[in-house]
Amino acid sequence: MAETSAITDEMRAAIGKEWEPFTVEVDKTAVRMFARAVGYTDLIYFDEEYAKSKGYRSLPCPVGFVGHPIHRPDRASRPAYVMPFQTPYKRVLNGGTDFEYYEPVCAGDVLTATTKVVDMVERAGSMGPMLFITSDTIYKNQQGRAVAKFRGTLIQY
């Protein structure tokens, strides 16, 4: 543990507390855009009839994609790399990504996502003191079944 911790009582109190759930829509254009950005050539991500011939309900989500949160310009939106509490650091880096899929997510699905911080660790890094914040997001589909779990590690420094 660092001599002077950057982890405040407010931050510590946030561990384990679920944030307001958010809705994620998975649609065909978004699946295609994501798959194209990653360089996929498998037509299951682009051609719905082909995807159905392979047993999917519609275009399935490629690894790393579970749709986009709905953006509303009339409401404050918080990017995924901003925590719901103040920290002393200005800069952020992505520390790691862990996606687990329990069943395929396909275009047409509407998911409810719930996030909570599960861990905070301070380490001395090459660029000074660093704070590693790990959070879990569980995605449930329109039938209420958990379909995917995302664990992200955010580095603030």
């Binding site: 950005a37 996929y40 498998d42 790393g64 790399y81 952020v92 862990d98 996606f99």
Partner: protein, 143 residues
């Protein structure tokens, strides 16, 4: 794509390598596709103002490329169940991201034929910037 079957997989086996050059165009496509518009990935002045030498490839894009590596290996009959990686080093814009996987363990669980793999990305200079682990399910020749 020819189908790989559970019976054909051996522990220690390396799967086919995937190389993708992460050009500025790809990073912009990724920004739009993923919804991550953080400027260190496409604005050189902003990146340098944050102490970086240049724009860097999104960590999550490297994760997604590792996902593609596995998807293309398991093919139609298989399924990628878990992909985890850590971003230990930076990959700069316009460089190849070279994705690797090695079979660590094969086993049957819950009626599925599962394979654990060590996965990682390398820079053209051979630096492993993104180590990780994955689980995939494969079909059996026995059906």
């Amino acid at each position: 794509m020819s189908q790989v079957y559970f019976e054909d997989v051996q522990e220690g086996q390396e799967i086919p390598v995937l190389t993708e050059k992460c050009t500025s165009q790809r990073l912009v496509m990724w920004a739009a596709g993923s919804g991550d518009f953080y400027q260190i990935h496409y604005d050189k002045d902003f990146a340098q103002g944050n102490g970086l030498p240049d724009r860097i490839t999104h960590g999550a894009l490297k994760h997604a490329l590792l996902g593609r590596l596995l998807h293309e290996w398991v093919s139609d009959g298989g399924r990628v169940k878990k992909v985890a990686c850590q971003y230990r080093g930076m990959d700069m814009v316009n460089e190849d991201v070279i994705c690797h996987g090695v079979v660590k363990r094969k086993y049957q669980e819950g009626g599925e034929n599962l394979v654990d793999l060590d996965i990682w990305t390398e820079t053209p200079l051979g630096q492993k910037t993104t180590p990780g682990a994955a689980v995939v399910a494969l079909p059996s020749r026995g059906g």
